[in-house]
Symmetry: C2
Subunit: 249 residues, 2 copies
């Protein structure tokens, strides 16, 4: 794609230069040219390769940084966001302790990892054919050594070839970190839909509570670069000592 500088023959199709630059950067990220944790070229270098001014590159990076796709570090450079750093490790885990101080520790226990076939709803969400293959994972998340979250997870099988119970149990890192490192899939955004439900027998057993205990049900769709949906989740959160925190602006 050639850059369209403010030229003459546009007809109601104006796209700012910096948006085009942003797309090019996203494309490079998608192609794996720059990997999570690594630095991307400096603003001046990018300006030179794209044949635009540094300020224009800057504006493109500004937006990507606001979306947590890139991270700027003054004096050091601009880096591709990663789920591995301690600081952002639990970026997508909105559940926090009611007594904020004792920064909880998370441990995951994977119960199932199977290949399944996409139902109508799932195929719609992923924009793939019905009966396409998915990976289904069930796992329990312990916070401060208490079973607190029961997750049912579905992934596009074509993006996660080779993912199995063995691999999941071997790694001690958060799932999103594993996806990033082992499969080159970076989660950058997620949409959650929350409801209050009560625990049925299966969930009650797994979470070690009584049937009828209220649970926070969190349905999630996670997206990679370019709003590509790559994960569906049904989470059931025990909120006796934790709460889901959210900031509205």
């Amino acid at each position: 794609m050639a850059l369209l500088k403010n030229s003459a023959l546009r007809e109601a199709s104006f796209t700012p230069l910096y948006k085009q630059i942003k797309s090019l950067i996203l494309q490079s990220l998608n192609n794996g040219e720059w990997k999570p944790g690594e630095s991307i070229p400096s603003e001046f270098e990018l300006a030179k390769t794209f044949q635009v001014s540094q300020g224009t590159v800057r504006k493109a990076i500004d937006e990507l940084a606001a979306e947590n796709v890139l991270i700027r570090r003054q004096g050091k450079g601009t880096f591709v966001a990663t789920h591995h750093e301690a600081k952002v490790r639990y970026r997508f885990l909105s559940l926090v302790s009611d007594h904020k101080v004792p920064k909880q520790r998370a441990r995951s226990q994977v119960l199932k990892c199977e290949r399944v076939v996409a139902n109508l709803e799932q195929s719609k969400a992923f924009k793939i054919k019905v009966n396409s293959e998915l990976v289904y994972i069930q796992r329990l998340l312990f916070l401060d050594e208490c079973p607190t979250i029961l997750d049912n997870i579905w992934l596009r099988a074509d993006l996660f070839e080779g993912l199995d119970l063995n691999m999941l149990n071997k790694h001690k890192i958060p799932l999103y970190g594993l996806f990033e490192t082992e499969f080159g899939v970076s989660m950058v955004r997620a949409d959650d839909a929350l409801k209050a439900v009560v625990a049925d027998e299966e969930k009650a057993n797994l979470l070690q509570v009584k049937v009828g205990t209220p649970l926070l049900q969190v349905y999630r769709t996670s997206y990679s670069y370019g709003d590509k949906p790559v994960e569906l989740r049904q989470g059931f959160y025990l909120t006796d000592h934790y709460h889901y925190q959210n900031r509205l602006k």
Copy 2:
């Protein structure tokens, strides 16, 4: 406050010009110089009054626009955000229908409006003295004519003098719109803490459901300009046909 241009005698106290401009704008908003819905002076005018370049004013406004404090409209001007416009009327109502299409209609029924005394927790949250006076409101919100949300609301009495049951029942506008118009209090941000609970007898009666029905409990602290906390809320949401939606980035 005089603007500190990049001068010599700073010692580890650097504050960018545009941040100072931002503070000045926020101050004007706080003083009620520019009211919600109105336009503020153009970027060039502000640049002239503040004796900086237009680009610097622009960056200040950019941040305030990102925080939904100001709204930019190309060709028209920059406006103070308001809760009255249809588009952003329910900005802070995260509950949406599961079948998104039939854009729900909200109706509020106020049950109580009393003066009460702040407990320890409330006085801490508001950063006021214990036993300070608060306004307590209990109301039921109907979505599509079904009782769906039970709200308990506490406000700083000194900011809401004259607020009573009569006034609340007279107005057909959302609460945050009323607060803005009648008391000059603009809500710009809120922190929600969510848990799953079950309905006790009182809540079950009011929401017309059985005791034991799971409810989404939403504790909220709302802030006005300058992160000033002005409202505490305990909401109980019926999530049989609605869900709390949230985007993670």
